[in-house]
Amino acid sequence: MIDILDGLKAAFWLVISFDAELWEISLRSLRVTLSALIIASLIAIPLGTYLAVQRFRYRRFAISLINALMGLPPVVIGLLVYIALSRSGPFGVLNLLFTPTAMIIAQVIIITPVIASIAHQAMRELWAEYHDLLISLNTTKWQRIVTLIRDGRRNLLTAALAGFGRAIGEVGAIMIVGGNIDHVTRVLTTAIALETGKGDFALALALGFVLIGIAIVVNLAIHTLSRTEREGRW
């Protein structure tokens, strides 16, 4: 039986000894995931809000599509991105395969539907609340979207954090498009897969605990920051 305590102990030592490789891998995880999160949020939040505010012919279809994309297995997305970025693929000339950029692309595709869907849900409720007032004040479409994003930012943060959680813990897609190359594309999740493969469960678990730790710290940091914000009082 593998002792979880061994993993905790190993994690503890790795962290307090400032293990250089652990730092490198953790920072890369954060770098890739936060970049993906920002790009995905910039797409998904206005999109989710637009879908809440605007009626158009294929709106229902667009919402269903986003919800369906949310359920796509990351491995499939990884494979599609791999095929697209492969040297013999349509975007091969960009030479992006097995780079952190490729991992960011895959993660953006994975989490954009997640964030858009949660954002749409939240924005739809807020829109129902604000609808009459914003129509009455004769607002432009753009003013409506900006107002909803501003006043719904707490809920949008939750949507973004859901995307972050999904991205930082993802392994299938980034393994395929990143290749888990040491010092280049190895991140926490792929390192965990690697160590598990070597049968070094203690180290794998330790990395797992570090991953959980990072996820918690980032969540707490963002929540704290948003709470200390002057207007964030509800």
């Binding site: 954060l30 770098r31 936060l34 290749g179 190359i181 493969g197 070597k198 049968g199 469960f201 914000e229």
Partner: protein, 267 residues
């Protein structure tokens, strides 16, 4: 808050670096042996080349080579390698070294393969005893070798019953599965020695020349994929077949057991 995030992102990205490098697809068994950790720093010192390893099964390694996504492959499956060269994906096949496969199984050895005369007997014993057996099942070099051994023993995998389980994963994951199921499995010696979760398993059979596992280096043909760094691949091949590589490969051991035998020939 947004400003804070921007600063954080800027800091995170600040330490991106890039050097002259090439990509080499290698098998999991090679990576798991730990030999790469010895060779890569030496390569960096000697010829100032960053070799980025993509650790995959032999099947996927050759696919990556065919697509031009790596500059060379280092694998161990002669037939597939020759087909790769014939199809024009690789310029040539250069043998570098070999190690050997071993048969791992439960310490109690229910099929009684410990002391079998040769690997054919050992495989036959496992099938006769219907002892649980884990196959890589991922078209890797090890998987191909295993299938060849069943065929050599005159046994058809399709006739195997429930005791034969193809897991479709890498060497380490397959060893984990075998440990969990208390099953027999064929592994390369290096992966086995480096494997950390041996509980209840032990090395039961090895040494038959039929179990030798030849590694070969195949540069990807730049005619098909012009962006491939054939120059770097050739540089690496020269180093891998040279005296320094020979010394490092022959001298590499785990727990006092040498793992690889350098056998590149200079033409």
């Amino acid at each position: 808050m947004n400003r804070f995030l921007l600063v954080a992102i800027a800091l995170l990205w600040a330490q991106v670096s890039s050097a002259d490098n090439m990509r080499l697809a290698v098998t999991t068994s090679f990576e798991n042996s730990g030999l790469a950790d010895v060779l890569l720093p030496a390569i960096k010192t000697d010829i100032d080349l960053d070799v980025q390893l993509l650790v995959v099964g032999t099947g996927q390694a050759l696919k990556l080579g065919a697509a031009g996504d790596v500059d060379a492959v280092l694998v161990h499956s002669k037939e597939a390698e020759e087909a790769f060269v014939t199809a024009g994906y690789g310029t040539h096949r250069r043998e570098i070294m070999y190690n050997d496969f071993v048969i791992i199984g439960p310490v109690e050895d229910p099929a009684g393969i410990n002391g079998a005369a040769n690997v054919i007997d050992a495989m036959t014993n496992i099938a006769t005893a219907k002892a649980r057996f884990v196959s890589r099942g991922d078209d890797s070099g090890t998987h191909k070798a295993e299938r060849a051994l069943w065929a050599a023993a005159g046994l058809n995998i399709q006739d195997h019953g429930d005791w034969y389980q193809a897991v479709g994963s890498g060497m380490g994951a397959a060893l984990n599965t075998a440990a969990g199921l208390n099953a027999y499995i064929i592994a390369d010696r290096a992966s086995w020695l480096n494997f950390g979760n041996k509980k209840g398993l032990s090395l039961l059979f090895s040494g038959d020349p039929a179990l030798y596992n030849q590694y070969a280096f195949l540069p990807v043909d730049p005619v098909k994929n012009s962006h491939v760094r054939n120059d770097l691949a050739m540089l690496l091949e020269e180093w891998l077949t040279g005296a320094r590589a020979a010394a490092l490969i022959n001298g590499y051991s785990i727990g006092g057991e040498p793992l690889f035998v350098f056998n590149a020939t200079t033409d």
